[in-house]
């Protein structure tokens, strides 16, 4: 099953232009800040929102094409949706929620009993079958929503912020379960999230959506090692510099010069891993580093062993050093320090 969504949608001042293909058995995570158009993408594919231009198809079957006046209703698309906050029917039991898709297609209670039983077993819901949805925990309710969406074997599965409604402790468990169920499910999956961990642990490929546009697409390690926008860089915890290269020098947008190891020409992106940043007290220390700048500390986040030090100066940087180093240097917010980065530690790639 291949899902193709290539469309433009306009709603008031919001505009979204997307070109996305999801292959068979592929899980694509759509990552982006709030209001980027992630939910809109889901609503378009599910048939809850009509596009203004372009085309949406599954396996060559056109679902939405304004030019040819084609619009297939949500009920006929064969697209399963797990909504944010799950949207379970409160007046039905867990079992009837799961059976809803089969009943809607006209299956009698008796005919579908065996199939429902099998699905409830697979999703570990047998004990919860007679319960009312409002009595379930977040993780259980998520499982019911997933079972309900998958019971009719849709060719495409859409997950809208599957872990957002859960508390931190259940999130990990739900991710593990989701991973297992997504592996068993053979169709195309789009998973919308603003949590990079969801994307890292569940997806084969990541699509970054900002202001209604796809700004970056790729495998997990490509996204983390070569972010193309500040949003992505921040999300993956990397430093990103936009600049223009002449030889082994990059001039950033703010006019800061960075020495790099390889020779480049033209507009480039440069990433500096936080671990590659050295922080020292002495302003003119003699080091092998080609890059050093006077900086002021604006924040220190300690995780017990390592600390992320936020620096501002000619450019904004995040450095990661050990807690012991923070202690030894007596670093505090507001301190003036020198930050340096070896030219060989700066990764440069085309913009």
């Amino acid at each position: 099953m291949t899902l193709v969504a290539r469309f433009t949608l306009r709603r008031g001042t919001f505009e979204s232009s997307i070109d996305l293909t999801v292959g068979d058995d592929e899980v694509v995570a759509v990552l982006g800040p709030n209001g980027a158009g992630k939910s809109t993408l889901i609503r378009v594919v599910a048939g809850l929102e009509a596009i203004d231009d372009g085309m949406v198809s599954i396996d060559g079957r056109v679902l939405d094409d304004p030019e040819k006046s084609v619009f297939v209703d949500a009920a006929d698309r064969g697209v399963g949706v797990v909504f944010q906050s799950h949207v379970l029917f409160d007046h039905l039991s867990v079992e009837d929620n799961v059976a809803f898709g089969l009943r809607a297609r006209g299956a009698r209670r008796r005919e579908s009993r065996a199939q429902i039983h099998e699905v409830l077993r697979r999703f570990d819901l047998l004990d919860l079958a007679p319960r009312a949805p409002r009595t379930l925990s977040g993780g259980q309710s998520q499982r019911v929503a997933l079972a309900r969406a998958l019971v009719t074997s849709p060719s495409v599965l859409l997950l809208d912020e599957p872990t957002a409604a859960l508390d931190v402790s259940t999130r990990r468990e739900v991710r593990r379960e989701l991973r297992r169920h997504l592996a068993e499910y053979g169709g195309s999956t789009i998973l919308v999230t603003h949590d990079p961990l969801d994307a890292y642990t569940l997806a084969d490929r990541i699509v970054v959506l900002e202001n209604g546009m796809i700004t970056q697409m790729g495998k997990v390690d490509e996204i983390t090692s070569r972010p193309r926008t500040r949003y992505v860089a921040e999300l993956v915890g990397n430093n990103l510099v936009l600049g223009v290269a002449t030889g082994t020098t990059i001039t950033s947008e703010t006019g800061v010069q960075l020495g790099v190891a390889e020779s480049w020409n033209g507009p480039v992106l440069a990433t500096i891993r936080p671990q590659a940043v050295t922080i020292s007290r002495t302003p003119d220390a003699l080091t092998s580093s080609r890059n050093s700048w006077p900086m002021r500390i604006t924040g220190i986040e300690s995780s017990g062993e390592r600390a992320r030090v936020h620096l501002t100066g000619p450019l904004d940087l995040v450095g990661e050093i050990t807690d012991r180093a923070v202690e030894a240097l007596g670093l505090r917010i507001g301190d003036e320090v020198t930050a340096s980065v070896k030219a060989t530690e700066i990764e440069v790639y085309e913009r």
């Binding site: 599910a46 698309r77 697209v79 949207v87 029917f89 809803f100 809607a104 009719t152």
Partner: protein, 271 residues
């Protein structure tokens, strides 16, 4: 920093006014209770004419609220969910009979569904249906004045309903009518029950439209309110007993349904 909230003070003026309101409601009932010829109660209640009026009232008001539900729910849905020109005019027409003096409603019904009415003459000529001075006419009059209560209650519930539930149902393959039947309608059940009760209460108490349109034929169109009013002229004690019976029935229904009313007043909060 947390400070214990001060004990909530009841504004005395408000409490006094509320007391006046309660007294205003309660006094008339106390009046009936005090003056009622309790000794006559068994005789009057077992009186054949009274039993017929009571039975007629219960039957017609029940059927009227049922019809109000069958016709009113789709109307409420259309008013709540469909955008069309003149929607506010349609809503005004649908609720006009609620603010109109019931006698005027009766006159209006007479000119439309009466034997010489614009619709009534064809009902008579073609189907031999004569609504005036029939039990069916009583039901028509009651439905006419009672339906707006149901429509307003259910419309506001449809309007407040979270559409995501219907969307989820449609992504699961449900056709619009299946969604309506299995998701939309169950979700507004508290409002529907409240609307039905309101409509039933209004139908039970119907007087003006009924006497104008359906007349006052014992056993056929003479409902309890009509019987009570007529008794007041000739046998006031009898009127008191009849009133007592109706108060009893209405009060019992209100008490029995208080849970439903509460759930309507406090819609479930979801995040």
């Amino acid at each position: 920093m947390s400070r214990r909230p001060k004990r909530r003070h009841t504004p005395i003026v408000v409490a006094v006014w509320a007391g006046v309101a309660i007294a205003f409601f309660a006094l008339p009932f106390i009046g009936i209770l005090v003056r009622a010829p309790w000794g006559d109660l068994p005789d009057v209640v077992t009186d054949r004419a009274v039993r017929r009026a009571l039975w007629l009232s219960l039957r017609t008001s029940f059927v009227a609220s049922l019809i109000a539900g069958i016709l009113g729910v789709p109307l409420a849905w259309v008013l709540a969910r469909l955008e069309f020109p003149g929607r506010s005019v349609v809503r005004a027409i649908a609720t006009l009979s609620m603010v109109l003096p019931p006698v005027v409603g009766g006159v209006a019904l007479f000119t439309s569904f009466g034997r010489r009415g614009i619709v009534g003459q064809y009902l008579d000529d073609w189907f031999g249906i004569r609504l005036p001075f029939s039990t069916a006419g009583v039901i028509v009059a009651q439905t006419f004045v009672a339906m707006p209560f149901l429509v307003l209650a259910v419309e506001s519930a449809f309007r407040q309903l979270d559409t995501r539930y219907e969307e989820a149902a449609s992504t699961l393959g449900a056709r619009p009518f299946f969604v309506f039947r299995r998701v939309t309608l169950p979700s507004v059940r508290p409002a529907l029950v409240a609307g039905l009760v309101l409509a039933w209460a209004r139908a039970l108490g119907e007087f003006g439209a009924t006497i104008t349109f359906a007349g006052n034929l014992p056993g056929r169109t003479q409902t309890m309110p009509l019987a009570t009013y007529l008794a007041l002229e000739s046998e006031p004690e009898r009127a008191l007993v009849l009133s007592l019976v109706m108060i009893g029935i209405s009060f019992a229904v209100l008490l029995g349904l208080r849970e439903r009313w509460l759930t309507t007043a406090l819609p479930e909060v979801r995040t």
